[in-house]
């Protein structure tokens, strides 16, 4: 990007398998799956009854009773992740000007749980189309507009600079970080709180993916139901969670002696203009996004040494992105490890893009590549090195992370170990 470079100096994660960055990284490096039978509601009547749920107790995570009441689960995740990220950055909050703090959050489905829960009450479980306003709760409008998620993070961060929410479906978590990087590079803020959150494990979300058979029907074996790149995969496993990053300008971060996880050096998104849910097998537009991100980072394909795949565990996705990697990186695609953490923490829609960027930063930090769990029977049409089952020590200096989502959106982001780019 231009003269200013964005670096990651703080990470906060709420993910299935454990709250907090430490627990998250342990889950990934152990190759442990956090997918299970849905417990958040009674899913007996649904086709897919598997999800990656967070064991999340808002009070234990420091939210006050009033915050808990006010916030939808997605907002609770984001605020807890933001607070961890701030603490991790070791920034002196009192020394920052609120006007110079920005927020760029992402979410695919906003406060969908709160919206549905309240609908059940106001319609009396679907009895009234003209819902009864008598029973409305004060935060209902806040549930209808996903911008509320950015509002809560801004309040939790004392931010009075530019604040926005990006909602490009399942690429929202990459696109929101990309927008946050742009805020920083353009000098609109000195510190940007960037990330994404989603909490979609509720009847309406599960039903809508059921109806298009996008999620796994493998209810007999929930722990092994998310199987990206495996011949026996049969759909994605819905997840939930949030990751929030503290972004700072590189020279300012160095001046204050901040711990720098990684630099974000390239980002682009493109659209396939083909179908709202379908993907062409050629991976053409994702490849274009990757090429543009590389160009922006002034890197060539040989520099990439790990690919964090979208790896949702649908047949069309796995083949689509495998082609996209070959198209954009050529021979290099065959030489580098490629893995999908969705095999362990599920697909949390918009949130997962930011959760994956957190994983990429940690991979650079620890020089370890997380595995693709449950990959026992490689799909012959997916012929790259997908790091099956076991994490791998690997000198990771430059990471490519991609996302693909409904609407035809394809996003790519590049991170490097600081000092190299």
């Amino acid at each position: 990007m231009t003269g200013r470079t964005a670096v990651i100096t703080g990470i906060g994660v709420v993910a299935p398998g454990g709250t907090g960055t430490k627990a998250f990284w342990e889950t990934l490096t152990a190759g442990r799956t956090a997918t299970r039978e849905i417990s958040l509601f009674d899913a007996a009547d649904f086709r897919s009854r598997v999800a990656a749920e967070c064991d999340f107790d808002p009070r234990q995570e420091g939210l006050s009773p009033q915050e808990e009441r006010r916030m939808d689960r997605a907002a609770q995740f984001a605020v807890v992740a933001a607070r961890e990220a701030w603490a991790d950055s070791a920034l002196d909050r009192g020394g920052l000007r609120p006007e110079r703090i920005g927020v760029s959050l992402g979410s695919a489905v906003g406060c969908t749980m709160g919206l549905e829960d309240e609908y059940v009450v106001l319609s009396d479980a679907g009895r009234f189309w003209e819902v009864d306003p008598t029973y409305r709760v004060p935060q209902l409008y806040g549930y209808m507009v996903p911008s509320t998620l950015a509002v809560e993070v801004a309040w939790a961060s004392g931010a009075e600079g530019p604040v926005s929410l990006t909602s490009t479906g399942c690429t929202a978590g990459l696109d929101s970080v990309g927008a946050g990087v742009q805020m920083l590079v353009d000098g609109l803020a000195d510190v940007v709180v960037a990330g994404a959150t989603d909490a979609p494990i509720s009847p309406i979300s599960v039903a809508c993916f059921d109806s298009i058979r996008a999620t796994t029907p493998n209810n007999a074996d929930p722990e092994h139901a998310s199987r990206p790149f495996d011949l026996h995969r049969d759909g994605f496993v819905l997840g939930e969670g949030s990751a929030v990053l503290i972004l700072e300008e590189k020279s300012a971060a160095m001046r204050r002696g901040a711990h720098i996880y990684a630099e974000i050096v390239g980002y682009a998104n493109r659209s396939n203009a083909f179908h709202m849910t379908g993907l062409k097998p050629d991976g053409r537009e994702m490849a274009e996004a990757i090429r543009v991100a590389l160009r922006q980072a002034k890197l060539d394909p040989q520099a990439v040494d790990y690919i964090n795949a979208h790896g949702s565990g649908t047949r069309q996705n796995d083949r689509h992105e495998t082609e996209a990697f070959k198209r954009s990186l050529g021979e290099r695609a065959y030489q580098v490890p490629v893995s999908s953490i969705k095999s362990m923490v599920g697909h949390s829609l918009g949130a997962i893009g930011s959760i994956e960027i957190a994983a990429c930063a940690l991979a650079i930090e620890h020089r370890v590549v997380p595995p693709t769990a449950n990959l026992h029977h490689p799909d012959p049409e997916c012929d790259l090195d997908y790091v099956p089952l076991t994490a791998r020590e690997h000198d990771v200096d430059t990471v490519l992370s991609v996302g693909s989502g409904f609407g035809g959106f394809q996003s790519a982001m590049l991170l490097t170990r600081s000092g190299r780019a």
């Binding site: 695919a108 819902v131 507009v145 911008s147 931010a159 926005s164 039903a207 709202m276």
Partner: protein
């Protein structure tokens, strides 16, 4: 880099084209009326700015209409108008250099209500296959991109009623990142029982029943706003590129943008609207004296009107600049509102005439605003557009003339 607007599409209560909208607002004719889209007898709010002349079947192919919400129907309609108006045939353009960035406040509210209703009244098997692509906030951007083969960067900005300006600001940035043109703006449509009920919880909606005075910002008796539906989408290009390709017209320049956020409640710190305006002026390289009109956010809630009046007078002095709010004729369009204000402001600058604010009977004492209550000729070369989003979003944009 100078961003200009070369094509505009409008779908709102005031018209289904820019010219129809402009004609109606100059006449000061309000399009607010009784809610007809559903039986509102159960609700305290009786009025809305419905896009009554908009019939989906006349504008959107049925194959697409069934898989999308009304908010997307309005967006697709405005998008097609904007491209045609700009003289752009997307098939002739480099596919990756056409970007789409829309603002949305609440997504496919009516579609979503219908599917949640089916789920809870009939069971999970009755949820339709299109819920997953109709309700989510990105549906309009995705559908526009697919319909017109636009494969460049795609964005969806949700900052409630500030969204129209924030989407435009993000689009301008894309022009300097390699996009040749960006289709941007916003629409919204949440006039269904659940959508209206949710809006009630803000306490900002007017419960008046007389359409002539229900939404009267800055008035002594202001007591809320009337919701509307629709918005505007427009084509943004770099000025020299637009000239080089022989664009049929340039409506105006988008010269400055800025966004700020209000402090958390209880902090005692000042709100951020004034700062947004100052930053947008600075971005445009202009001072308050250059601005010939302010398109106000004009919520119609006394406390918020007072805050805005203070921000304007702090910047321009008492009665220092004409202030107007033609949205009093459409109702507030959420993500579509600021987008429509932006193109309306552009026509005010082009035609050197200020559209009026309607409904105001007696301006509240102490605001010290020069409210435009009747269309007014004025040699205006630059306009400031203000917008605020629920929760604390502030955005400002500066529109300037292309006349030298």
């Amino acid at each position: 880099m100078t961003a200009v607007v070369t094509g505009v599409g409008v779908a709102a209560a005031t018209g289904l084209s820019l010219s129809a909208h402009w004609e109606q607002v100059l006449e000061g004719r309000s399009a607010i009326g009784p809610i007809t889209r559903f039986d509102s007898s159960r609700y305290p709010v009786k009025l809305a700015g419905e896009a009554g002349d908009f019939h989906t079947a006349e504008h959107v192919p049925s194959r697409i209409a069934v898989q999308t919400d009304r908010w997307t129907h309005l967006g697709l309609t405005a998008a097609a108008q904007a491209l045609a108006d700009a003289g752009i045939e997307p098939a002739d353009q480099p596919e990756y250099e056409m970007a789409v960035v829309t603002a949305s406040s609440s997504g496919g509210t009516e579609f979503g209500q219908r599917e949640i209703h089916r789920l809870w009244s009939k069971g999970p098997d009755h949820v339709g296959a299109y819920q997953s692509i109709a309700w989510f906030y990105a549906a309009t951007t995705g559908q526009i991109s697919i319909r017109h083969g636009m494969r460049g960067s795609c964005g969806v900005v949700c900052t409630e009623q500030a969204g129209g300006l924030d989407a435009a600001a993000r689009s301008r940035r894309l022009l300097s990142n390699g996009a040749r043109m960006v289709l941007t703006g916003g629409t919204d449509a949440s006039l269904c029982p659940y959508g209206l009920t949710a809006q009630l919880t803000t306490g900002r909606l007017s419960t008046q029943t007389d359409p002539a005075v229900a939404y009267r910002p800055f008035d002594r008796q202001a007591d809320g706003y009337v919701p509307g539906e629709g918005g505007a989408l427009f084509v943004m290009e770099e000025e020299s590129a637009a000239v080089a390709r022989g664009a049929p017209q340039i409506y105006g320049r988008l010269s400055g943008f800025a966004s700020t956020f209000d402090p958390a409640p209880g902090s005692g710190r000042p709100p951020g609207l004034r700062r947004a305006a100052e930053l947008a002026l600075a971005d445009a390289g202009l001072g308050p004296a250059d601005i010939g009109v302010v398109f106000a956010d004009a919520v119609g809630v006394p406390e918020l009107d007072r805050q805005e009046a203070e921000a304007i007078t702090a910047l321009f002095g008492a009665r220092g600049v004409p202030v107007t709010a033609p949205k009093t004729m459409t109702g507030r369009l959420y993500a579509g509102g600021a987008a429509l204000d932006l193109v309306t402001a552009m026509l005010a600058v082009r035609d050197e005439v200020l559209p009026p604010t309607v409904g105001v009977v007696e301006p509240a004492p102490g605001y010290d605003l020069d409210l435009v209550l009747r269309a007014r000729p004025a040699p205006v070369t630059a306009a400031l557009v203000l917008a605020r989003g629920y929760g604390g979003f502030n955005a400002a944009a500066v529109v300037t003339t292309t006349r030298s």
